[in-house]
C-alpha cells in the first residue's frame, strides 16, 4: 500500500473523524484517500479547503468540538499552516499535522527533501511553543506513528507533526494495521454548548503579561514532561561501531544500505535513527559519545539536525556532515564512499 494512503487509513482506524486539506504534491493521495474513505465513515467529515490556512483553522474548530482531527500538506503548505499550528499549541488543542516534505525554499520542487527540520522542531510558527515531531522511515512506521500521533496529541493536548518526505509518501510497502487503543482524553476542554453547566471558552489572547507568562511556563512544563517521556529512537549495528551515522526518515534507510556495504568492507559503522525529532534523543547520542568518537550526520538538506547532534555532544567527539539538498536522493553506494573516506581519515 502506498505511504500517503496508509497515513489516511491509519488515521481513520485511529478514530480521525475530521480532515481538511488542500491539494499539493507529493501528498495528494492522502487528501484523495480521505475524500474517498472518511466520508463513508459515520460522523466523518472531509472538506477540501480553500487554502492551507483555512484547512488548519477548520481543524482547530473540529478539535475544540472534540473530534480527532487532521490536516496534511507539503513544505510550502506547512509554512501557511503555521498560524494555525501556533494557535493549536496556544489553545492546547490536540491535532495531527502531516508534512510530506519536498525541496525548498520557496516553491522549490516536488522531490523528496528533509529541508523542514528546523521549522518542524523549533515550533515553526510564532511564539514560545513546540510540537511533537515523528519521523517515520517505512510505510509500516507511517501506519504505526500515525496512530500513535493521535494518542500523543490527546495525551498532551498539543499538535503532533508527522514529518516524512516525498519518498515515504509515494513508495509502497506491505503494511499491517494494529488495533488502536480506545481514545483517552480529558473531555473537560471540549466546547459543545454549555448545557446547564458553566460556559467555557478557549482562547490564545492573554493581554495580562503575568498571566501570559504563567501560560508560557505551563506550556514549558508540559514540554519538559514530553522531553522526559516521549523520546524514541532506533539503533542499528551500533555495538561494535567506531563510526556512528545519525540519520532519520528516508536518509536513515539509505544509511542502512550504506552500512551493510561498509560492513562488508570491514568498516565498523552503525546508525542512530531518531524517531522523535522533537523531543530529540540528546542523552542517547551523548551516551554513545563515551565510547565512540566519530559521528557522521547524514541528511537530505544542507545541515539542520547536525546542530542538534552537536548540541547533544557538547564538544565531545568529532561531528562530520554529509547532505544532499534540493530533492536529490543519494544512493547507499554514494554514502558508503563517504563512510570509507571517514574511516581512512580516522
Amino acid at each position: 500500500m502506498q505511504g500517503n494512503r496508509v497515513i489516511g487509513e491509519a488515521a481513520i482506524r485511529a478514530g480521525c473523524r475530521f480532515y481538511a486539506g488542500y491539494p499539493i504534491t507529493p501528498q495528494n493521495e492522502l487528501t484523495e484517500y480521505m475524500a474517498d474513505n472518511l466520508r463513508r465513515v459515520k460522523g466523518g467529515t472531509f472538506i477540501q479547503a480553500e487554502s492551507e490556512i483555512a484547512a488548519v483553522n477548520m481543524v482547530l474548530g473540529a478539535a475544540a468540538a472534540g473530534a480527532r482531527a487532521m490536516t496534511s500538506s507539503s513544505s510550502p503548505g506547512i509554512s501557511l499552516k503555521q498560524e494555525g499550528i501556533s494557535s493549536l499549541a496556544a489553545d492546547e488543542l490536540p491535532a495531527v499535522i502531516v508534512n510530506i516534505m519536498r525541496g525548498g525554499p520557496g516553491l522549490g520542487n516536488i522531490l523528496p527533501s528533509q529541508g523542514d527540520y528546523f521549522q518542524a522542531t523549533r515550533g515553526g510558527g510564532h511564539g514560545d511553543y513546540r510540537t511533537i515531531v515523528l519521523a517515520p522511515a517505512s510505510v509500516q512506521e507511517l501506519a504505526d506513528l500515525t496512530m500513535d500521533a493521535f494518542d500523543m496529541a490527546d495525551r498532551y493536548r498539543n499538535p503532533v507533526l508527522i514529518l516524512a518526505d516525498g519518498m515515504m509518501g509515494q513508495m509502497s510497502e506491505p503494511v499491517e494495521f494494529s488495533e488502536p487503543a480506545p481514545r483517552k482524553y480529558p473531555e473537560c476542554y471540549v466546547l459543545n454548548g454549555k448545557g446547564k453547566g458553566k460556559s467555557k471558552f478557549i482562547r490564545a489572547l492573554i493581554l495580562d503579561a503575568i498571566r501570559m507568562e504563567e501560560h508560557n511556563w505551563k506550556l514549558y512544563r508540559k514540554y519538559q514532561v514530553i522531553t522526559q517521556k516521549e523520546v524514541r529512537f532506533e539503533t542499528f549495528w551500533t555495538d561494535d561501531a567506531e563510526i556512528l551515522i545519525v540519520a532519520y526518515g528516508t536518509a536513515a534507510r539509505i544509511a542502512k544500505g550504506a552500512i551493510k556495504r561498509s560492513r562488508e568492507m570491514g568498516i565498523p559503522v552503525g546508525l542512530i535513527r531518531p524517531i522523535t525529532l522533537w523531543p530529540f534523543p540528546m542523552e542517547v547520542i551523548r551516551a554513545f559519545a563515551e565510547r565512540v568518537e566519530n559521528f557522521l550526520v547524514f541528511e537530505m538538506n544542507t545541515g539542520q539536525m547536525v546542530e542538534d547532534v552537536q548540541l547533544a555532544l557538547g564538544g565531545i567527539g568529532k561531528v562530520q556532515f554529509y547532505g544532499r539538498p534540493g530533492g536529490v536522493i543519494p544512493t547507499p553506494a554514494e554514502l558508503a564512499k563517504v563512510i570509507a573516506y571517514q574511516a581512512r581519515k580516522k
Binding site: 474548530g61 454548548g193 460556559s199 467555557k200 482562547r203
Partner: protein
Amino acid sequence: MKKVFSRPKSLKTTAFHYCGGCGHSIAHRLIAESIDELDIQGRIIGVPPAGCAVIAYNYFDIDMLESPHGRGCAVATGVKRVLPDRIVFSYQGDGDLAAIGTAETFHAANRGENITVIFINNAVYGMTGGQMAPTTLLGQASTTTPPGRSALLDGHPVHFSEILGQLPGTMYIERCAVNTPANIMKAKKAVKKAFQYQMDNVGFSLIEILSQCPTNWKMSPIDACRWVNEVMVKEYPLGIIKDSKR
C-alpha cells in the same frame, strides 16, 4: 411588581470595555437576547474574532472559541461539521471578515455552511487605532489614509454582503444598523431570524451591522449615530440583500 426589562441571561455581569457610544455592546445585547428568546444558550457556540470584540468570551455566557484573525468562518465550519445539532456563529469585524478573512468567509458561504455570521461594519480598524478598513468610505480619513481614502490609491469600499448574496450557497443576508431605536429593533429581528434559520437547517446566513465607532471617527456618540444615517447608509443601504426562504 412586574419585571419588564433585565440583563439577558446569555450575558455575564462583566462590564463591557467598549468605548462610549460604540455599537459593539448593542450588537452583543441583541445576540444575547436572541439566544435567550430562542432558548439555545446551552447549545450555542460563538467564535469571536481578533479585533475590538476579541474578548467577547468575557461577556457572553455561552461556550466560545476564539479564532485567529480572519479565520472565523473556517473555525466555525470545523465546529459545526463536528456538532451539526449545535448552533454556531462567528462574530467578525470588517477587517477580519472582508480583508484578511476574505477567502475563509467567501468559501464558507459558497459551501453553504449552516452557520450564522455577525458582521460588524464600522468602516475602520477599531482596536489597532483607526486604520483604513476594506469598508472605509471614499474620502473618509483614517490613520493610514490621512487625506481621505482615494479610489486610485486605496481602492473602493467593499460591499461584501452583496458579493456573498451572489453565491447560490447563501440563504439569508441582511444589512442593519444600531444607531437609532428603530434600527436596533430591526437588527434584533434579523439576528434572531438568522439563528432561527440555522436551527431550521436553512443554511448560511450573515447579518451585517453598521456600527458606530465614535473614538476612531473622532466624533461624539451622537454625531457618530447621525453619520451612520447621513453618510454610511448611502454607501451601504439597509435592508434584506437576500432571503431565499421567503
